[in-house]
Amino acid sequence: MIQKCVCLVFLVVLFITTILSLDCNLLNVHLRRVTWQNLRLLSSMSNSFPVECLRENKAFELPQEILSSTQPVKRDIKEVFYEISMQAFNIFSQDTFKSTWEQKHLKQIQMGLHQQVEYLEQCLEEEENENDWEKMEEDEMEHSGAAVPQLGNLELKRYFNRIKNFLKDKKYSRCAWEIIRMEIRRCFHYFQKFTELLGKK
C-alpha cells in the first residue's frame, strides 16, 4: 500500500516537474506568451500618461542595432532575452512605493519576469551541458568573429544602467516611474521580434 502511494506521488511529482520544466525546444512559444503577458501587465498598471511628466522625459537610446546589424544565432537570442529579463526584474524589484501602480499588478509583473529569467537560465544550462563541444566551437567563432553577443549584452547593460540612474536622479518619483514603465514596454516589444527569429531557426 505504501509502495503504491510512493509510486503515485513520484509519478505526480515527475509529471508536475515535467510540466513545469517546459521544453526548451518550445522556447519561442513560451517566450512569446510570457512576453505578451508582461506587456499587458505593464499597460494595465496605469490608465494614462500624466501630462506634467512630459517635461521630465529622457532619451534612453535603446540599442536597436542588436537586431538590425546581424542575424543572431539561437543562443545569442536566448542570452539577449536573459539579460533583458534579468535587468527588468531588478528594476521592478526596487523601491516602487511612490508609484501609483496597484500592488497586485506590480507583484504579477515581478513574478512574470522572474519566471522568464528562470526559464531562460534553465534552457541555457541545458544547452551548455549537452553541447559542450559545440559551444567551444561557437566560442571560437565568437572570439574570432564579430563577438556580437558580448557587444550586445554590453550595450544592453549600459541601457539599463541609464534607466537605473534616471530613477535614482529623479528620486523614484511618480513621473520617473511612469517614464520607465513606458520605456520598458517599448524595450520588451522591440525584442519580441526575437521570438519570431527563434521560431524560424
Binding site: W36, F49, N57, A59, T100, E178, M182, R185, H189
Partner: protein, 517 residues
C-alpha cells in the same frame, strides 16, 4: 423543513472611527493627485487600413468646440510637435497614418480643447502602436451559391508600410456559424495583401442558414473587434446575391423610369402644354397596309399641259380696211353682230412645243382693258375646217375672218385679269369646265390640242354648220379627245361658276350645241 429566521444584528462602528476612515480616504486621495489626467479618453484604431486617433471627453457638459493635436516621441526628449491636419478641428479624431510611421516607437499625443480662444482642457497618453492599437474589422461581402459561399474581403490595393507592419503576423479570421456550430478560418497576414480576396466556404448543408463574421486577430490576441454577422440561406437554384440584387434593382429602376415618363406626359397634357391626338393621322393608318405598300396605280390617262395664251382684242369697228399695224398696236376685241366681244386665247401645247402650231383658242372674255397679245389674223386662204376655234359662233352669219367679239364670261375675265403677266404670253389656269376648246380633226386621236404657230393666226368663227372641227370637251377629270361630230357642243360642267346667272344677258344659243353666255 421549518422556517429559519435569521436575525442580523449589526454592530454599528463607532462614529469616530468612521470619521477617521473617511478622513484617511480623503487624505490619500489628496496625497496622490490624479495622475490620470484623463479629462478625455484617447483611442488608437486601425480603421479602413488607416491609423486613426480618436478622443472622447468624459464631461460632456464642458465639451470643447475645437481641438488641436500635438505629439512627441517617447524615446527622445523633444518639444511637442503640432499635427497640421488636425489643427483647430471640430471632429474628434485624426488620421495619423502618415505622421506616426515608426513601428516600435512610443508616441505621446496631446489633445487640447478650445472654446473660442479659451483653452478648456487637455489630455494625453502614450501609444505603442503594435500594442495599443485596436483593429476594426475589414469590409466584406458574402455571395451564396447552392453548395458554397464566397466571402469577399475588401483590401485596398496598397497601404503604407506602417500598416503592413501592424498587420504582419496578425490573423484574418472568418467565423462561420450555422445551427450553433462555430467554425473559424484563420489566415495569417504575411506581407502586403493587395486588393480584395475571396474565401470559399464549401461543404454546405442545404437549407441551412449560415452567418459569417470577419475580423482581425492581432498578435496579442486582445482588442479583437468582430464585425456584425451577415447571414445567408443557400438553397438549390439560388443565384448569386449580387446578380439577384442587381436584377431587382434593374426592375425597380425601369419601373420608376416608366412611372416618371407616364406621369410627365399626363401632367403636360393636363396643363395643355401638349396635345395628344386621339386619332392617328391618315398617314399612319396602317389598316390599309396593303394598299399603302402597294398603292393602286391610277389608270393611265392622257394628260397634257396646256399653255393658254389669252389674247385681248379691243373692240374694233368693223372696217374693211385691214391694217396689221393696227392690229399689232391695238388689241381690239372683235365685235360680233350680237355685241359680244371675243378675246382670243392662244393655247400652246407645252409637250409639243417644237412641232406644234399655236392654236388660238377664243374664250369668252370681257376684258377690254386687258392687254393681251394680238392674235394673228386668220389666213383667209386656209381651209376653215381644221382650224380650231374656241367658239362656234352660231349666231353669226356667214364666215368671217375676223376675230369674234369676246363674249362675256366673268370667270374667264377674272382669270384673265389675274394672269396679266409680262410678255406676250400669259400662263394661267383655265377651268376647262367653263371653256370650250376645239381640237382639229386630224389630231383627234391625240388627247391634246394642236397648236398652230403663232398667235397671229386668225381665228375664224365659222358657220356652225360648216364646222367640222372637233371640240375639246372639258370634263372634270380628264380632257378627252372629242369625237368629231357635226354638231358642236360645248359642254359645261355643272360646277362652273357663273356670276352671270341672273344677268340680263340671256344665254345665246348659237346653234349646233354652242351656247354663249
Amino acid at each position: 423543513m421549518g422556517q429559519d429566521s435569521t436575525v442580523l444584528i449589526m454592530n454599528p462602528l463607532p462614529s469616530s472611527a468612521t470619521l477617521v476612515l473617511i478622513g484617511l480616504m480623503f487624505g490619500i486621495l489628496h496625497a496622490f493627485p490624479d495622475f490620470s489626467g484623463a479629462s478625455c479618453t484617447l483611442k488608437m484604431t486601425l480603421r479602413n487600413f488607416r491609423s486613426i486617433l480618436s478622443w472622447e471627453y468624459k464631461n460632456h457638459s464642458i465639451e470643447p468646440a475645437h481641438y488641436t493635436l500635438w505629439y512627441t516621441i517617447g524615446s527622445r526628449y523633444e518639444e511637442m510637435k503640432i499635427v497640421e491636419n488636425c489643427t483647430n478641428i471640430t471632429r474628434s479624431f485624426c488620421d495619423l497614418t502618415d505622421v506616426w510611421e515608426v513601428f516600435h516607437e512610443t508616441y505621446i499625443p496631446k489633445v487640447v480643447g478650445f472654446r473660442g480662444n479659451t483653452t478648456l482642457t487637455s489630455c494625453t497618453d502614450y501609444f505603442l502602436l503594435p500594442m495599443d492599437m485596436s483593429f476594426e474589422p475589414p469590409e466584406f461581402g458574402i455571395v451564396g451559391f447552392t453548395d458554397h459561399i464566397n466571402v469577399l474581403v475588401k483590401f485596398p490595393p496598397a497601404y503604407p508600410n506602417i500598416i503592413d507592419q501592424l498587420l504582419y503576423g496578425s490573423s484574418l479570421v472568418i467565423e462561420e456559424q450555422s445551427e450553433g456550430i462555430i467554425k473559424k478560418h484563420k489566415s495569417k497576414v504575411h506581407g502586403n495583401v493587395n486588393g480584395n480576396f475571396t474565401y470559399v466556404i464549401d461543404n454546405l448543408i442545404p437549407y441551412t442558414n449560415y452567418c459569417v463574421s470577419v475580423y482581425f486577430e492581432p498578435n496579442s490576441q486582445e482588442r479583437v473587434r468582430k464585425s456584425p454577422f451577415k447571414c445567408i440561406l443557400p438553397y438549390p437554384g439560388q443565384e448569386s446575391e449580387s446578380s439577384e440584387s442587381a436584377k431587382i434593382g434593374g426592375i425597380i429602376t425601369v419601373f420608376l423610369i416608366a412611372v416618371v415618363f407616364i406621369s410627365t406626359i399626363i401632367i403636360l397634357k393636363w396643363i395643355g402644354y401638349i396635345c395628344l391626338r386621339k386619332r392617328f393621322p391618315k398617314v399612319l393608318n396602317f389598316y390599309k397596309f396593303q394598299a399603302w405598300i402597294f398603292p393602286k396605280l391610277p389608270q393611265p390617262e392622257a394628260v397634257d399641259m396646256v399653255e393658254v395664251i389669252c389674247v385681248t382684242r379691243k373692240k374694233k369697228v368693223w372696217g374693211y380696211d385691214y391694217d396689221e399695224s393696227d392690229s399689232d398696236d391695238e388689241t381690239v376685241p372683235r365685235a360680233i353682230p350680237s355685241g359680244y366681244t371675243t378675246h382670243g386665247l392662244t393655247v400652246r401645247l407645252l409637250s409639243q412645243a417644237s412641232a406644234a402650231s399655236v392654236t388660238t383658242v377664243e374664250s369668252q372674255f370681257l376684258d377690254p382693258d386687258a392687254e393681251e397679245p394680238d392674235l394673228p389674223e386668220a389666213d383667209p386662204s386656209r381651209p376653215a375646217t381644221p382650224e380650231p376655234g374656241p367658239w362656234q359662233s352660231e349666231g353669226t352669219s356667214g364666215p368671217y375672218q375676223r376675230r369674234e367679239s369676246p363674249l362675256q364670261d366673268p370667270t374667264s375675265e377674272e382669270e384673265s385679269k389675274s394672269t396679266e403677266g409680262s410678255g406676250d404670253r400669259i400662263i394661267f389656269n383655265v377651268d376647262l369646265n367653263s371653256v370650250c376648246m376645239r381640237v382639229p380633226d386630224d389630231d383627234s386621236e391625240e388627247a391634246s390640242l394642236k397648236l398652230s404657230s403663232l398667235p397671229e393666226d386668225i381665228v375664224h368663227l365659222e358657220e356652225p354648220d360648216e364646222t367640222e372641227s372637233s371640240l375639246l370637251v372639258a370634263s372634270g377629270e380628264a380632257v378627252q379627245p372629242p369625237d368629231s361630230f357635226s354638231s358642236s357642243e360645248c359642254l359645261w360642267s355643272e360646277d362652273a361658276p357663273s356670276d352671270k346667272s341672273d344677268s340680263s344677258e340671256s344665254d345665246v344659243d348659237l346653234g349646233d350645241g354652242y351656247v354663249m353666255r
